[in-house]
């Protein structure tokens, strides 16, 4: 198995006009790990994820996805890199006018030429894997928030991507549903070996699910801690890290 990191972020700087969000940020994500990006509100977690998945291009720096620089990729090359990703957005991002089956089918139709029969089986399988078997004919407006997130995850997994990215998978969910999202992430990671990149500020999920984390902070526009979250909780002396992992008010 290739031991090179699957994602390499090198000296990334992100600015909106004259406002610096991230400055000179570098880190690696290893193959098959659950990697979480944590930090307080407004520290640039989601911004970092948007750079990784190619929705935005940093003003400086490079991001290598499986050896290819997504920041410099254009057209067909970028499309090929994007095939390696499945992304679960904060609000799910399901197309409201399409059923759950159609939401998944749109990905399969774009990237494969499989038969309708095979597609139907695949959709059934993907929905079953997130506990939504039999909901293929439902519109997103007809299901709950937690189900929407799971359906969006089924869509993100449609092509069995190498990397699954989650932007706040547990936001807006009750603790039980949030825990079930974490369980799905762990299950998919162990069964499929998929690399998971998760943006989160759900401490419980971070401690029970992540193999590695980076903690961003807006005071430095970058990383203030990285490593095993359980070790960070127990050993890190940085007051911001300590407050975050021990839920202490500032």
């Amino acid at each position: 198995m290739n031991s090179e990191p699957i994602i390499k972020v090198e000296n990334v700087t992100v600015r909106y006009d004259d406002r610096t969000i991230l400055e000179d940020v570098s880190f690696n994500i290893n193959r098959g790990e659950i990697f979480m990006i944590v930090g307080g509100s407004g520290c640039g977690k989601s911004t970092m994820l948007r750079q990784i998945i190619g929705l935005e291009t940093p003003v400086e720096g490079r991001i290598y996805i499986d050896g290819e620089n997504i920041c410099a990729a254009r057209g067909k090359q970028k499309k090929e890199i994007l095939k390696k990703f499945g992304v679960l957005f904060q609000s799910g991002g399901l197309f409201a006018s399409m059923t759950l089956a159609e939401n998944i089918a749109i990905v399969l139709e774009t990237y494969t030429d499989i038969s309708q029969e095979c597609m139907a089986e695949l959709i059934d399988m993907k929905l079953a894997s997130v506990g939504l078997r039999g909901y293929d004919g439902f519109l997103p407006s007809e299901i709950s928030g937690g189900m929407k997130k799971r359906a969006a995850l089924a869509r993100a997994m449609a092509l069995d991507p190498m990397i699954l990215c989650f932007d706040e998978p547990s936001s807006g969910l009750d603790p039980v549903t949030a825990a079930s999202m974490d369980a799905i992430i762990r299950e998919m990671n162990s069964a499929l070996g998929t690399t998971m990149v998760v943006v989160s500020h759900d401490l419980e999920g971070v401690l029970t699910t992540a193999h590695n984390v980076i903690m961003l902070d807006k005071s430095v526009c970058g990383i203030i801690a990285q490593g095993d979250p359980r070790k960070l909780k127990a050993e890190n002396k940085n007051p911001i890290v300590h407050s975050f992992f021990n839920r202490i008010a500032e």
């Binding site: 409201a96 038969s115 695949l122 993907k126 078997r133 407006s141 092509l159 998919m188």
Partner: protein, 383 residues
Amino acid sequence: MKKTKKNKDCFRINESANERILTPILPLTLTNANAYDKQLATTKVVTDCSKITLDFAEANLMDFDSYLVIFINRIRQFAKEKNVEFAISGLPSDRRNFVDLFSRKITSELPEQENNSSIGRYIENLGKKFQKMWRDSYLLIEFTGNLLIALVKMPFQMKKVRWKDFPFHFNAAGVNAVPICLLIVFLIGVIMGYQGALQLHQFGADIYNADLVGIAIARELSPLMTAILVAGRSGSAFAAEIGTMKVSEEIDALTTMGIDLYQFLVLPRVLAVTFSIPFITALADLSGIIGGLFASLTTLNITMNGFIVELGTALTYAHVFSGIIKSMLFGFLVASVGCFRGLQASGGAESVGKFTTAAVVTGVLLIVLSDSVLTFVLQVLGI
């Protein structure tokens, strides 16, 4: 082993007396799905045997995806249908985890679903449509009632109405609509003038084109066209704006804060359109008549002076004011329907789009319907 059947691409089958061993050759990926499906369709996988084994010992499993599970399930299904024993060999443990995860869930029981016949579904859908129509009508009556109550209460609760929004909507729905309304009604006047000229000239009644254009524009066409344009501009805008507020829970926030939606949102919009539309209509009357004058002067043997004198004798205050009062009613209907449809939105962006379209369609329908009724009533009253 008796013989080996070589199927040239995807998988091969080794046959013995009682057992068939199926070995995948190409990677089990979605890219190869069609080739595998084609071969499965043309190959008798399970015949004359008591056991079928899927052997992955020689298979390329470096590259695989969900099709691996689909393929295994297909072979498993074949075996089940023929009541033949099924086994898998040579599948590495991590791949087995992958297969188990999906297979376990895919074989879970489906949630109970109603299984109606097609006639049953048709009747059910018909019932649902009537139910929706009934609910729509009920909501419209409720909205109208609430709006009338808000209007009655308005003189006593002037401070509760959000007058801050009135100038904004007066400007957006009224002033900004003037150029397009003038242009359209001017062109309608030109068309009307040319058509009238063609007919009247045959009878030597050229001068009466002024009567035709003036009365038609002032009584009917100017208020009608202005209202239709306002429905397209402002009715849709109100529906989209309020609909977006509804889906983003702003309306819920207003409700829970105890703020009257009608005084806060609906009245400023409805009053702004109702009181701005007569001014647009008056200007549009003038624009339409100028259009008619232009057409008459270029096609008929009449002078500008003659046209204006004849128009002065034919066009009465009743004609002009009936049109203007009608336009106020149209404005009231268009703005109310826009707000009503906006408040009906729920769910997401799709719903907002749907009710925005409905606002325009219902608005135009109500304009034409009320115009027909008013034309008849004014005729009977001799106005």
